[in-house]
């Protein structure tokens, strides 16, 4: 079944993300990508995963795949409190702007990035950020790792059941190791 946006009014245009149901679907994308970037928003602090939260997951994903992290909306504080000092902080709107620039070296100066993994920004705001990337940052592959379908990504979970979502997140962690 074709996935639909989580917020019912957030209908996209002709382009929309492919449904991400298992980690293996991303294998080729991860293999191809040389410089990914993980973007984590403020809702991640309140999203549980395993025995921790989605900040812990971001740290694990970053360390497993050597993926630099940029936190939006002041979420960086949660990373620092967990002892993770390698993250950078930017506004979601600043990111939406810079992601349109093919030559941007990224918050750590290690780009240009060719892949973004993103979650935790309020649904509608992530929707707009990804719209900027979809329409004007065409050099990027965009993977939305939140539970709810983000049509402007290339790959997104299709409003997945929570348990299954956590399982696939763990599979992704294994995939990037």
């Amino acid at each position: 079944m074709k996935p639909v946006p989580w917020q019912t009014g957030e209908i996209c245009g002709p382009d929309s993300a492919k449904s991400l149901n298992k980690a293996a679907q991303l294998k080729r994308t991860f293999t191809k990508s040389k410089k990914p970037l993980l973007i984590v928003g403020s809702d991640a602090v309140n999203m549980k995963h395993g025995k921790g939260d989605m900040i812990d997951y971001a740290i694990a994903l970053s360390q497993a795949g050597k993926i630099p992290v940029v936190a939006t909306g002041g979420t960086i504080k949660a990373f620092i409190e967990k002892g993770f000092e390698d993250g950078k902080s930017m506004g979601a709107m600043e990111l939406a702007n810079y992601l349109q620039d093919e030559s941007w070296l990224g918050p750590h100066g290690k780009g240009p990035h060719d892949l973004i993994l993103i979650y935790g920004i309020p649904y509608y705001m992530q929707w707009t950020l990804l719209s900027a990337a979809m329409n004007f940052g065409t050099h990027l592959t965009k993977i939305a790792l939140g539970r709810y379908y983000q049509p402007h990504a290339d790959w997104s979970f299709p409003n997945m059941k929570e348990k299954q979502w956590h399982e696939v997140l763990d599979e992704i962690l294994d995939l990037v190791r």
Partner: protein
């Protein structure tokens, strides 16, 4: 000064008789009493300030986030604009986004301008065209926005009408540019956005000036009255008339009628949205029920015996909602007739009879003289019966109904704030109403959850029932709108603002589409007021700022002064009062720097942009009006921050710190091009969280002209707020240090290390300007 006069009146009573549809055009009037020289751009056309706009837009380039990939505005379409495609008219995606931004700004301005026109025409009818316009004591530079943009100083209602003629012509031009086959460049669409924003500021200034002058509002009064506010404040022992919208005229007819008939002991008048501010400005015994987002909860409570709507931000299903609680509706504006029968020409008693009997759910009355009598008589008549009625279900009934929840999640999916409504309903099944109460606190009152619910649950009502205790305790004291800032106040603070010693002027304005409750507005205002920034409020944001009480039970307005001074919180009034905020910045240029205002827009905007550390925040920005208000501030070079929902305006105006060219100014003393620190870094910015908004606010107050002491103070606040909210010392402080004297003394060690690491070099502190023509004229 020569100006064309053009008067219109639906009906004019003169010594020669009564004229209907009167329209008078007088060739020219000469204003030869004003010796201020005319600047280069009086009453500019959409392209006269294009060069200034392009300076701003090259510094703060639009960053588009298309809300839709197609265009469906003409029958060529729908056109798919994805990728590099162009529509049948030739427009590409960026152009289309800019076009929609312009459409929104036009709509917003149309609302303010039509409001202003109605007020001016009505007041000319009531008081005559030569009625003087008075902003208040100590406001020699009255109507600074109009002076600046039009070169006119509106001294009478007739002058106001002439200025609105200009505004109407400009709106027609900028709106026509949206038509298929007109403007084709995103840059020029954006320039017109700024133009219509400026027109919007003029329209609002005229609207507020004419009502302040004629309707007994506080006039530039720092001690404007404290008024009662909150759902719990409404006295249900009296008949209650609820007024909703923005236009004072029908609401004033109600309070006047009640005063005239001495019915104050029997009838209570409360307002929602900006009408609330304007009725309390006119009659401080009226009450502010709450912001736009509380409409549904209050109507559904059934406490309002009559609902009177005027214009703008009114729930368009108000008649249906009021019918559910058997409250008659009176619509009063030709912009929002709401499908009701026009009874304007009928007798008051016959209208009252039909409303009291329930024969009609509501009526449209455009004759405002009748509204007061009809609303009051109906309220008094229906009140005794209505007080015996119960409109909300009991908790027991809700618990029973909740058993049938289909657990489909549609309520959550339709909620703008993704509130866990379904989980709260499931908790209510078990008799636990706390989760529903929590949802109430963050609810923006849109009721989309109800529309989506397959069981047709009145979910918003359930939330209100769960939060019954909170509603009763919603009792606040707010300072009603004071109007303009006095010149004398500007004289006291102009220098410390321009030098940066008062670190900023922060304006909380706009709607109530908050991501997490209105308390956020209070918290942001308090954070900066305690740091001795000047806090200004207006509109629904001004209400939300007052809904948190301290340990002594006092609101922010009770515990802080209403003067335009450091640490004070100043409510200027309703939406149309926003130009008093812009006007304060404009007056700083006139009073402190002795710059001419008259028709001198670009120079003054350049002054404000480079010197006045002002930031606008519209945390719950929702409407097209909010877009046009923001655009008016952008053209003056004042940055605006919106909440996360503001990202849906689909376009930000963002600087890039590494783009040195963008931060280069002329030193007016030498003509040299000087690279400054990236401040203000952005012109339009949606923040994801309060934390981010606070950090960005402190940062956006930085200006190239700051003195070392001023820069040091601003940086101290930025660093402190950044460390508090982000948990680390900001990495970009060194960029804002021009000389070592800019360094906050207590943080010197840390900053020196950062400067060394980044190979910092001393920079010139210029007399900054973006306008080459101002070089060699010196500056302040």
């Amino acid at each position: 000064m020569k100006k064309k006069a053009h008067l219109k009146a639906d009906e004019a009573k003169t010594v020669f008789g009564v004229f209907k549809g009167l329209e008078v055009r007088i060739g020219q009037i000469v204003d030869d009493e004003w010796d201020e020289p005319m600047g280069p751009t009086p009453m500019p056309s959409p392209t006269d300030l294009r060069s200034w706009d392009h300076k701003l837009l090259s510094k703060y380039k639009p960053s588009y986030m298309p809300y839709c990939q197609v265009c469906c505005l003409c029958t060529f379409g729908k056109c798919d604009l994805s990728g590099d495609k162009r529509g049948a008219c030739g427009l590409d995606m960026k152009g289309q986004q800019a076009r929609i931004v312009l459409a929104a700004a036009n709509i917003g301005n149309a609302a303010h301008l039509a409001h202003a026109r109605h007020l001016v025409d009505h007041l000319i009818d009531e008081y005559g065209p030569q009625t003087n316009l008075i902003q208040g004591p100590g406001t020699e530079i009255h109507a600074p926005v109009s002076r600046l943009a039009t070169g006119m100083r509106p001294r009478t209602l007739e002058d106001a009408s002439i200025i609105l003629d200009y505004c109407e012509s400009q709106l027609a031009h900028t709106l026509s540019a949206v038509h298929t086959g007109q403007e084709g460049s995103w840059l020029d669409f954006e320039s017109k956005v700024l133009h219509v924003g400026m027109i919007d500021q003029i329209s609002m200034e005229i609207a507020d000036l004419v009502q302040i002058s004629t309707l007994d509002f506080p006039q530039a009064d720092p001690e404007a009255p404290l008024v009662d506010s909150g759902i719990g404040m409404m006295d249900t022992n009296k008949a209650i008339i609820l007024t909703i919208g923005h236009n004072i005229v029908p609401a004033a007819s109600i309070t006047d009628y009640i005063a005239e008939k001495k019915l104050g002991g029997q009838v209570e008048v409360g307002g929602m949205c900006c009408t609330a501010w304007d009725i309390t400005r006119r009659d401080p015994s009226a009450k502010v029920v709450g912001p736009i987002s509380w409409q549904l909860r209050y109507i559904r409570s059934g406490k309002a015996d009559v609902v009177v709507v005027d214009e703008q931000c009114v729930r368009t299903d108000v008649v249906n909602e009021a019918q559910k609680v058997k409250a008659p509706v009176i619509s009063t504006s030709d912009k929002a007739v709401m499908g009701l029968t026009d009874r304007s020409d009928d007798t008051i008693d016959s209208i009252v009879e039909d409303l009291v009997s329930g024969k009609l759910p509501g009526v449209y009355i455009h004759d405002h003289h009748k509204v007061g009598a009809v609303a009051t008589k109906v309220a008094l008549a229906v009140m005794p019966k209505r007080r015996k009625m119960k409109f909300f279900p009991t908790k027991k009934q809700i618990q029973k109904m909740a058993q049938d929840c289909k657990k489909c999640s549609e309520c959550i999916r339709s909620c703008p704030n993704n509130q866990p409504i379904m989980e709260a309903v499931l908790a209510a099944q078990l008799g636990n109403f706390e989760p529903l109460r929590d949802v109430y606190r963050n609810c923006i009152g849109c009721a989309r959850c109800e529309s989506a619910c397959p069981n047709g649950y009145d979910l918003h009502s359930w939330m209100v029932v769960a939060a019954e205790k909170d509603c009763k305790e919603e009792i606040y004291k707010l300072r009603t709108g004071r109007g303009a800032i006095q010149d004398t106040e500007i004289r006291s603070v102009g220098q410390p603002i321009v030098f940066g010693e008062i670190p900023g002027v922060i304006a909380h304005v706009g709607c109530a589409n908050y991501p997490g409750g209105g308390e956020d507005v209070h918290d942001m205002a308090e954070e900066f007021a305690k740091r001795r920034y000047i806090i200004v409020t207006s509109g629904c944001a001004a209400m939300s700022a007052g809904i948190v009480k301290d340990e002594n039970g006092q609101s922010i307005y009770e515990r802080r002064g209403g003067e335009f001074d450091a640490g004070c919180v100043i409510n200027v009034g309703s939406c149309v009062s926003n130009p008093h905020i812009a006007g304060a910045a404009i007056k700083i240029a006139a009073i402190f720097a002795k710059r001419n205002l008259r028709g001198n827009y670009a120079e003054i905007a350049d002054y404000i942009h480079n010197r006045v550390g002002a930031v606008g925040i519209s945390w719950g920005a929702m409407s097209q009006k909010a877009a046009s208000i923001a655009a008016g501030f952008w053209r003056l070079g004042v940055p605006v921050i919106v909440g996360p929902h503001g990202s849906k305006y689909r376009r930000m105006l963002l600087g890039k710190v590494e783009d040195e060219q963008a931060w280069t100014v002329y030193d007016a003393r030498t003509g040299e091009r000087v690279v400054t620190a990236p401040g203000p870094e952005h012109l339009f910015y949606a923040a994801e969280t309060v934390a981010e908004a606070n950090v960005m606010t402190a940062k956006l107050c930085i200006r190239p002209n700051d003195t070392s002491r001023g820069r040091s103070i601003k940086l101290s606040h930025y660093i402190d707020i950044h460390e508090t909210h982000y948990g680390f010392f900001p990495e970009d402080v060194w960029k804002y240090i021009r000389r070592e004297s800019d360094i906050p003394i207590t943080l010197k060690e840390k900053i020196l290390v950062q400067m060394k690491e980044n190979k910092w070099k001393e920079k010139t502190i210029p007399d900054p300007t973006l306008l080459k023509e101002l070089v060699m004229r010196g500056g302040t």
